[in-house]
Amino acid sequence: MPGADTAEGRQTAAPAIELRGISKAFGPVQANRDISLKVMPGTIHGIVGENGAGKSTLMSILYGFYKADAGEIFVGGQKTLIPDSQAAIKAGIGMVFQHFKLVQNFTVLENVILGVEEGARLKASLAKARGSLKRLAEEYELNVDPDAKIEDLSVGHQQRVEILKALYRQADILILDEPTGVLTPAEADHLFRILDNLKAEGKTIVLITHKLREIMAVTDTVSVMRRGEMTATLETATTSPEELAELMVGRKVLLRVDKKPAQPGQTVLEVEDLHVTDEDGVARLKGVSFHVRAGEILGIAGVAGNGQSHLLEVLGGVREATGRIRVNGQDIDLTGKHSDGRSRRARGIAHVPEDRQRQGLVMAFKAWENMILGYHHDPAYQKNRFLMDNAAIRTESAASMQRFDVRPPNPNLAARNFSGGNQQKIVLAREIERSPDLLLVGQPTRGVDIGAIEFIHQSILDLRDAGKAILLVSVELEEILSMSDRIAVIFDGLIMGERLPDETDEKELGLLMAGITDTEAPPDFETIEAALDAAAGPGDAPHG
């Protein structure tokens, strides 16, 4: 019940957080310019803005991670100096970063106590934290195995650990930077219920997200950032997604995917009885079969960690497998010399990997070098037998970046200097421009702002309409539902079933994703929740 009793609190109490005139430059980049912001205690405040608008920077300053060049911070009405995170923690501020700050090979417990140990010996601290964690878990429905290693947890669970960390430090003010970027809708719903609980306890929450739906659903007030400046602060109740989108991007944005009906042609990809075992000897795909036709998008829905990543990697030639795959009727090697990405590309398969920063791009390479990653053997890029034609590559890349509206369209900039959304556009430009017979896309819009999402979705649809086959893997059910022509749900290495988008809904898909096929007697929420928890296997790296 947002609004009711906090409204009058707002007039009397001092703001939980007040920022005045915050500015921050990274070298020549002005990430924040003279920003002021007030957040009242016991409210949820949303911040939206394009990629690179400066949202994370602003919050990192509040958390003492970066030092502001200018400006003041007031916590609970008191002017507070926050030179480092220690000071922020003391001031009761907790933050869940966009890129989690967890020690991967530590247990949950170790991560939680790091920095707030009780004494020089760990034993007592660990025992105490175990107790508190149990209490917190019950209080807020934040179940995680305290002895699990972070690297073995799904991203959803990793995020819970981050929240637990903040709560364990008794944060009154909780900042969450794009918390739902990697969560399934169910996990996201769960998170928002937790946030509601926290708010009910009088805690203050700042939520950064690209999903306007979430802003509308949970926040009391919302601010919009654009190019380092705070352009508007509104009562959520008085605004609409369309207005926010326009404030963010500076133009009207189409929030719904607008697609023509599919015109499927002949079968391009046939997968039969695919089995994959990973490095640790765990079976990840246990006999998957499906097909994709030209001119259609097959969406694969599933909780992260149920094999869809492995499926993409096998198809993309990153991983070996057993079984049978045919593309355009020809068999594809799944092991040996001809099972690598180069061979796949030769067969007309293009692959937009789930993790653009780890796989899709060489972050230290310039944009133009990334624009040929995987296609560098293409004769078009060779000057002669020995040398590559860098000038030609650069020209072509510049044109293609122009077409895909990569900003800035400068092929000489290193990939790491582009914002997340633009990095994704570089990968898409590279893969789509080659007009492949089959496009594999993993999490195409993860962490990407709404302006870019619109563009990416349109590009994929254009490829489909050009008669190409597309396999779309996404944990965003909304994206799957709006983009796919058919939907296959994967659970624990098996395809649980196929549905048509108009004949199903999020709820049914959610059940399938939890491995529940018996739709006759829908189980109660707790069971789904628990099943989804169980479904979440080892996670992927947090997105970039």
Partner: protein
């Protein structure tokens, strides 16, 4: 988007760092009761003030060019090849075999053969560590350290028991036949009527080294293999995604690295000593690491750093010849140069960046 103009980064910072290193070296020289100004003068005139000085400076620089390039190529694939020392040792063996095997009629025939010999042996010595790293994950730093020791033993055995002429006191091979003697810079420049000191050992290998620089530059930045090496070096997952086979890259990069290190023998063994002696590499493999890192693994940077170290070696020799400054002091100066230009460069960069940033702001 840089904080500083490129020229400042490339010119100002090394110069300031060098100045700092020399200031500190000066203090050490004062501390042991010598005249630092005279010492620096002697070093500069001794190393750069005559064709004789240049001849030695370039001779040393040639050694460091090969080992520096060797390290740089491997480093582009994120392989820390600490084994240039051993690979250059083996390269010496290869060059010696080639030079002694045939009574070479002319150096123009012997040189390419020796390059191939040195490169093959150097590459061979790099192969096993590379293969073990690629296939078994055996850490390349350990294996190459071990191969340095094993290489020293092998050379010792070969020289003492196999290649030494009977009755010779010296654990060294026989002198190479005259047909395998390389022309020195004196001989080469004489063709163009340019006088150059006859005594200095700099020889045609210097040109080979420069050619190697250009080839490495082309390899790394202009070929598919170089592209793949760099991709693998920056991100293995991305390389695998792109269809690049890590095993192949690791092995190839190390073979090239070892071959380059092996080629050093063309300079010191064939060009200078004209026979193979024990410990012919004399730590050039380790200097190569510093040279490559200081040169930021770019052939041009490696070139500059190699010349700098050639200068330090020759300048140091002049100090040793004409003063009582102990030779270890030269090692100290080298250490300070490495430290300030290679590791403490940010000490100079940070204030400079601030300066440039405020200047830019001041302008607009």
């Amino acid at each position: 988007m840089d904080k500083m103009p490129r020229w400042a980064d490339i010119v100002l910072i090394p110069v300031f760092s060098l100045v700092l290193a020399f200031l500190l070296s000066g203090l050490v020289i004062v501390a042991i009761g010598e005249d630092p100004v005279a010492a620096v003068k002697l070093m500069v005139t001794g190393a750069l003030g005559s064709t004789y000085g240049w001849g030695y400076t370039l001779y040393y620089a040639t050694n460091f060019l090969f080992t520096g390039l060797a390290f740089a190529v491997a480093n582009h694939a994120r392989l820390f090849n600490i084994g240039a020392e051993g690979q250059a040792t083996l390269g010496g063996l290869g060059v010696a075999f080639v030079c002694l095997a045939i009574p070479w009629p002319h150096w123009a025939l012997a040189l390419p053969a020796a390059i191939i010999g040195g490169a093959l042996f150097g590459a061979a010595w790099a192969f096993l560590p590379a293969w073990l790293q690629a296939k078994r994950g055996s850490h390349i730093v350990i294996t190459t350290i071990m191969f340095n020791f094993i290489g020293a033993s092998l050379l010792n055995y070969m020289l003492v028991n196999v290649m030494r002429p009977t009755g010779s006191m010296d654990p060294a091979t026989a002198r190479f036949p005259p047909g395998a003697h390389l022309p020195t810079l004196h001989d080469l420049l004489a063709v163009f009527g340019i006088p150059f000191s006859k005594a200095a050992p700099a020889n045609i290998s210097f040109l080979v080294a420069i050619a190697a620089c250009v080839l490495v530059w082309l390899l790394i930045w202009r070929t598919r293999l170089g592209y793949e090496i760099r991709a693998q070096g920056h991100s293995e997952p991305a390389a695998v995604y792109a269809g690049i086979r890590p095993v192949r890259i690791v092995v190839l990069a190390m073979l090239i690295s070892g071959a380059l290190a092996g080629c050093m023998a063309v300079n010191n063994v064939m060009g200078e000593a004209e026979r193979l002696v024990l410990n012919a590499v004399e730590g050039a493999g380790f200097i190569g690491i510093a040279v490559a890192l200081m040169g930021r693994s770019h052939p041009f940077g490696v070139f500059l750093a190699a010349i700098l170290f050639g200068f330090l070696y020759q300048g140091g020799a002049e100090l040793a010849l004409w003063t009582t400054i102990p030779r270890e002091l030269i090692v100290v100066i080298q250490a300070l140069v490495i430290l300030f230009t290679g590791a403490l460069d940010n000490m100079v960069r940070m204030p400079l960046e601030k300066l440039f940033l405020s200047m830019r702001k001041g302008r607009g």
